[in-house]
Amino acid sequence: MNGPYGDLWTRSVARLIKTEKEVEGRYEDVWLVVEEDALDQWPAGPGEIVGQPTPRITGPQRARGEARYTADVQLPGMLHTAVLRSPHAYARAKSIDFTRALAAPGVRAAIGPDDLDVLVDEAGYPGVAVAAVAADTFDAARDAVALIDVDWEVLEPVLDPDEAVGRKQLLIEPRKYERGDVERGFAEADAVVEAEFRTQTVLHNSMETHQTVCEWQGDRLDVYISTQFIWGVRDEVAEQLGLPPDKVRVVCEFMGGGFGSKNGAGDHTFIAAELARRTGRPVRCALTRREENQASGNRNATIQRLKAGARSDGTLVALSGKFVNAVGWSGWTATTEGPMQMLYACDNVQTVTYGAKINTPPMRAFRAPGFVEGTFGLECLLDELAAKLDLDPLEVRRLNYSHADDDRPYSSKRLMECYKRAEPHWERRHEVRARSEGAWKRGVGLASQVWYGGGGPPSYAWVRLGADGRATVITAMQDIGTGTATAMTQIAAEELGLPLDSVDFVLGDSARGPYASISAGSSTTPSMGPAVRAAAADAGRQILEIAAQRYDKEQRVLSLKNGHVVSSDGGSWAVAEVVGLLEDAQILGKGARGPNPAGMQVLTFGVQVVEVSVDTETGEVRVDRVAAIHDVGRVINPLGASSQVEGGIIQGIGHTLSEERLLDPQTGTILTQSLDAYRLPTIADVPPEIVTDLLDIPDEHLTNLGSKGLGEPPIVPIAAAIANAIRDATGADVRSLPISREEMLRALREARQRAGEKVAAPAS
């Protein structure tokens, strides 16, 4: 199906097939019409355009402030929305009186729980939307919201996830997994380590807050939204409003970041749509930054009680974990247990995961949900085990390498190669430690990662070519800032043999292109890329058909290169000349994403080696160097790819060292509502050296590109690598994130006490 076909001229055939789709570790069976186009992958290594560092094609627009984000959409007569949100973590609104609000100046409409499903009168978390007002200005709307009279019955919130588990206040049945026999495994172990790890609640805080502008055009609804999934929003809105999907148009040309928080339509979209319907005017509903810090999703906190057993040579014989995800009032239970199950060859593994239902804002997917948290616990535990056995942590990783999974073979796995490339970075640990001075101790740590990245169907693209020889790739996808528009343009240009600046790219409007998949789960490039290539190949074939007729050649000797149709027996004609005959006629190429390799796991792997300095007297931690080695298949744009890696690392440093969403333990009120309290990394927090090493070897089983996604892999191992480097530098076992001054000082104190105990108690 995928693989080397000799004949490039296989016609595309529409077939209905049952295939598998994976998003962030969840596999589901789907029925698809798959127009499969069996193209050979390009040979490994950089091509003319694919594999070459390419600046963003939308870069100048964004840099000049000319890009129109949802925040910049201004429609004539547009109204502004303010939302009344529950000030209580758990409460019932016994009555809601809009009288005073409706009389306030500039107010055009107000809605409450009786008017819209997403507005609630039973508030299960602080910040949940209860009512909304549309007014001429945002200030007028906000002033009116203050005039909505609500009679609250305040209830006792449950805020502690362990307490929720104890009460069986859960969102799912505890998720259990077992392979082998952990009891026997631990019994056979020469060394066992057991520890509790905690990770904190982390907020996405994209620079553009969640927002939507809705405008009804007759019975059609235009939705301008900052989103990661144009087509998902379309379907969600259509379903909720009882409209045929094609009556909903979703537009997102530029958006200011999502990181998983903008996968769905969100309450604000339905609020805007309803207020627009009632007022007959366009309505914007935009979250303020404070609302963003309260009720727009989060990476949930976790408590991980882990145990690992190994033989004296470091071979793992048993792994077990109890994971409590502080999911919130609703939301899904991310696979914090995933790394423990997937990363290493261990015959005996047992996990149980609880999704605690508590009166806190619901989680939303955040850049490798579950795996960031779970990798922290697992990789720290493994290093503690290595320390106990006095073994080299890199050796322990290699020793426990999982070569094959019997159920599902890997489509490609090059983690061993990543470990090999990690060696020179790992070697530096001797000199790094030697540079410790006074209170500052220095050390090196590492951590591995596994994550998904195969993407999947459906996704479609069209390529349009006219008499001027320029191609336009037409999609209705979104670019969430990862540079996908550029990568897609590179792919089309490479396939068509055109220079990059002869190819234009359209995205962002569901009315102006075919279905495109979500930009989440590291799936954009592996999902859209093959569709774009297939569309370009289709257009390319048509160019060659024309050329064959025009220059009286056999199609099989013709190919596209450098903006020319080239014949293998000499002869070269500019594409513009070839298609110059077309006048108003156009070439239309069509492409679709084929299925994933049947029965295989498509995963990304990598390792990061981190150097830190720790001020052992003040608890300050500095990350001095990160080497990030990841296998993500073929790299389309090394420039954009390195930006993704750096971005993931920096976001990871934020959640490792300085970010934490805090609640008042009595009332459940969110305390870190502003960006002075919720501390994102600044440019001053960036490690002086970040080395990115992407293997850039195509996954031979995966699509016509061999590319996996790389948005998430870089953020997965960084927290553990930092914690492990801290242990190398100081002997301290960090057990919770963020590694605040308090946590660092605690761990250092504990390490000193242990060392003291060792000195005090002579070996018997």
Partner: protein, 158 residues
């Protein structure tokens, strides 16, 4: 009141209390300046007032009457724009106008900033995508370029 933005003069009627950011975006249609937090914590709204990097979201528009306001629209041909694009110093791009405005003030005051100086002077512009390493490169490259151009200008004809 009279507002001078990017060298052009605007006559406005606007209530006291309105921010410069809102005025630029909603009244003058200059939406290049972005609002990230509206309370002075993120730097996305940075503009120059008499050449000084200023958070327009917490600046009351009436307090800049008679002063020169420069927004990203007034810097569209600044060499930093090209430098940012070539260095890939942006991802989603929402913070980018504010970054470039701050960087423009930085290189104006200090044509050859060290990396430490760059990190110090750019610390008020948050970027959630983490484009920081390349923002630093873009500023270094721009400084280098400006220096090379100046040297080229001064070079005597052969």
């Amino acid at each position: 009141m009279e507002l001078v933005v990017n060298g052009g003069s605007y006559s406005l009627e606007t209530p006291v209390g309105r921010s410069l950011a809102e005025t630029l975006r909603d009244v003058l249609g200059l939406t290049g300046t972005k609002i990230g937090c509206n309370e002075g914590h993120c730097g996305a709204c940075t503009v120059l007032v008499d050449g000084v990097p200023t958070l327009s979201c917490i600046t009351l528009v009436h307090t800049v009457e008679g002063r020169d306001v420069t927004t990203i629209e007034g810097l569209r041909d600044h060499p930093l724009v090209d430098s940012f694009v070539r260095s890939d110093a942006l991802q989603c791009g929402f913070c980018t106008p504010g970054q470039i405005v701050s960087a423009a003030a930085l290189v104006e005051a200090n044509p050859e900033p060290s990396r430490e100086q760059i990190r110090h002077q750019m610390a008020g512009n948050l970027c959630r995508c983490g484009a920081y390493p390349k923002i630093e490169e873009a500023i270094v490259a721009c400084a280098r370029q400006t220096k090379l151009a100046a040297v080229a200008e001064e070079a005597p004809d052969a």
